[in-house]
């Protein structure tokens, strides 16, 4: 049984970064979260209908984390995450069309149908994937921070990871370098309490929380409830300022919950956790419902506006399915494209010696 997430304290709403929000921006967050949810619900339906292959890891239940954190990004802030990547992708501004088409394995997908659900990328939006190997992105996040510092840019690398990923060695090697060399990386542990079918307590040894492990590296860390956007933004802003002002790393653990199985193929997700637990989160900790209530209470949202936003999200998701459905498949010849830059560009390096070995 996972621990109950701590209630957010009201003063996060009055944090400077939240106080300055306009009603439009607040409604925008609602729309952004609903877009993730509706996109993934549409994807799930298509997956079940046999329109895609491989794995589909849904982010539903965790939307406030991606939206809250990414909403603070400036031009030199970057994002990298693991395979549960649709939420972050839409948050940074990737379109539903290219994301859905990728799931369908179409040429119009964000990775031309080559990467699939786990491997979305959009460098033009400072979004560096989409990584399938657990914790494999953690040294890359460090590298983004190194690159920023090297170039003298005031930025941060937001590196998302799961609660299961904290047990990979490369994460600790990265923490050491981050602190030793003062690199502006923010490790955001999205603690949804499970790594596949393994609960937090069965996978990880810790004192009070996972982020506290940063203590041994002299890295600032924090823990917060992820269901409330104000809280997420307030805590993330502290980390971003630390990165921008002092070029120091942070480990920020954000408690959250996934409603679906680890992937759609996870048939046992109501065995290793109870149906009641899932219901409790849906009823009492849903980030979208909570934000809706918050905005209704603030008088910046009406029920009618909510419905309008939701319907727009559903329509956009539906349109992305149509787009994906009607898009062309990648060509067979494209299998051998995008392997080597030099070959793709026909440079001297790409045309010297043999690069591919089928006869």
């Amino acid at each position: 049984m996972p621990m109950e997430t701590p209630e957010s304290t009201p003063d996060h709403a009055s944090a400077p970064v939240n106080r300055s929000l306009s009603p439009e921006q607040k409604r925008r967050f609602l729309s952004d979260m609903l877009r993730i949810r509706r996109f993934e619900q549409a994807a799930l339906k298509q997956y079940s209908g046999g329109k895609m292959g491989g794995f589909l890891h849904l982010y539903i239940g965790q939307e406030s984390v991606a939206i809250g954190t990414v909403s603070l990004m400036g031009p030199n802030d970057h994002v990298i995450t693991a395979y549960r990547d649709h939420g972050h992708a839409l948050a940074v501004g990737m379109g539903m069309n290219e994301c859905m088409a990728e799931l369908f394995g179409k040429a119009t997908g964000c990775s031309k149908g080559k990467g699939g659900s786990m491997h979305y990328f959009a460098p033009d939006k400072n979004y560096w994937g989409g990584h399938g190997i657990v914790a494999g992105q953690t040294p890359l996040g460090l590298g983004l921070a190194y690159g920023l510092k090297y170039k003298g840019l005031k930025g941060a690398a937001l590196c998302f990871m799961g609660d299961g990923a904290v047990n990979q060695g490369c994460f600790y090697e990265s923490l050491n370098l981050a602190s030793l060399w003062s690199l502006p990386v923010i490790y955001i542990i999205e603690n949804n309490h499970y790594s596949m079918g393994t609960s937090l307590n069965r996978s990880s040894a810790f004192k009070s929380c996972l982020a506290e492990r940063a203590e041994g590296f002299a890295i600032d860390w924090d823990l917060c409830n992820g269901e409330d956007i104000y809280t997420v933004r307030a805590k993330t802003q502290e980390a971003i300022e630390r990165a921008h002002q002092n070029s120091r790393p942070t480990v920020l653990e954000i408690e959250t919950y996934r409603y679906y199985g680890h992937s759609v193929a996870d048939a046992k997700h109501k065995v290793y956790r109870s149906e009641e637990e899932i219901e409790r989160y849906k009823q009492n900790h849903d980030p979208i419902q909570r934000w809706k209530k918050q905005l209704l209470g603030e008088g910046v949202l009406t029920e009618a506006q909510y419905d309008e936003i939701d319907i727009a999200a559903q329509q956009e998701a539906e349109a992305s399915v149509q787009f994906a459905e009607s898009s062309p498949l990648p060509s067979e010849a494209s299998i051998l494209e995008d392997v080597y830059y030099e070959v793709d560009h026909g440079t001297a390096a790409g045309t010297t010696g043999r690069h591919f070995f089928n006869n």
Binding site: G164, G169, I335
Partner: protein
């Protein structure tokens, strides 16, 4: 004979060996309480308990290294990689420690471990989850590598692998887990290093391992039915040790060989076999040795494209025909 799945065959082998030898312990992610990501270990934790079937955190380098270390004291860890693709995270432990501890200790230490899990493409999980590292691991003297194609072979080879006193890299296939074959109830072992002639012919030798051996059987049926060509299909089963005699035997009989693998071509297993044929069967060959491998790029996600990346019967048949024109 009972028909059982490849997955069940593996499970039976694990279960029998856990019962036979108190030093056998199963380690891996989700192998116990969750019953295995691909259900190979289903029911084993219930049956044998926490001591013999152990869930690990996502720490491949640590738990594989741990198994190697424990094997030095006589344990026989059987470690599951949810995908062989994740071996990259534990590469140092597998190559430097499991592979070389015996040599570097001048034979004082040995490493009786099994690392097992699926190693295949074809399931649209993208490049990071579709590795076929049998050639890379067979490149390490000290490691053994097996790639069973059927439930019968999987069970017999697994039992042998667990009893073997060297580290055995055991590569399964998610596309085969649900397939059924006849497997006897009685105990049997299949030695490592013995290939299996899965079909007898006289005109050409199709040599393969893992799922590619089954693809060759399908190609052989087409060749027989539509072209009157009878193919020997030799399933290597074990990559290292390799049944060189069986390879030479079939080629001496048919004088033509097409080598098929789901791995990439560069320095693939078939490159080694090709070299053996050049060195030891050159005068027997009536035609050049040809190869059919995966298309030489990282695994493509798109389901409709990825199927074309791996060898299909229709890729093998024209290759064979070209030897006769």
């Amino acid at each position: 004979m009972p028909l059982i799945t490849y997955r069940e065959a593996l499970r039976h082998a694990l279960s029998e060996e856990i019962q036979r030898d108190e030093n056998v312990v199963i380690l891996g992610e989700e192998v116990a309480e969750y019953d295995g990501a691909y259900k190979v270990t289903e029911g084993l934790w219930k049956k044998f308990g926490d001591k013999r079937v152990v869930d690990t955190p996502i720490s491949e380098a640590a738990f594989i290294g741990m198994g190697i270390g424990a094997s030095m004291l006589g344990l026989r860890p059987v470690m599951e990689l949810m995908f062989w693709s994740f071996a990259t995270v534990a590469w140092d432990q597998i190559v430097n420690n499991a592979g070389f501890v015996r040599y570097m200790s001048g034979g004082l230490i040995n490493c009786p471990i099994v690392i097992r899990g699926p190693a295949n493409g074809g399931t649209n999980v993208g490049a990071t989850h579709s590795h076929t590292p049998e050639n890379m691991l067979a490149n390490i003297p000290g490691l053994k590598v097996v790639c069973p194609a059927t439930a019968y072979d999987a069970k017999g080879l697994m039992k042998t692998a667990i009893r073997d006193n060297d580290p055995v890299m055991f590569m399964e296939n998610t596309l085969l887990y649900g397939e059924k074959w006849e497997v006897p109830d009685e105990e049997y072992l299949i030695p490592l290093g013995v290939a299996d002639l899965k079909r007898e012919g006289s005109d050409v030798s199709l040599i393969a391992h893992g799922r590619a051996a089954l693809t060759c059987l399908k190609a052989a049926e087409i060749l027989a039915a539509e072209h009157g060509i009878q193919a020997d299909v030799l399933d290597l089963r074990s990559i290292r040790p390799l049944d060189e005699e069986a390879i030479l035997r079939t080629v001496r009989k048919t004088h033509r060989a097409v080598l098929v693998e789901e791995n990439k071509p560069f320095c693939g297993v078939d490159a080694q076999i090709s070299s053996i044929l050049m060195e030891k069967a050159f005068d027997e060959l009536d035609a050049p040795v040809l190869r059919v491998s995966a298309i030489d790029a990282p695994a493509f996600y798109s389901p409709k494209i990825e199927v074309k990346q791996l060898p299909r019967p229709e890729d093998i048949v024209p290759k064979v025909l070209s030897l006769f024109s």
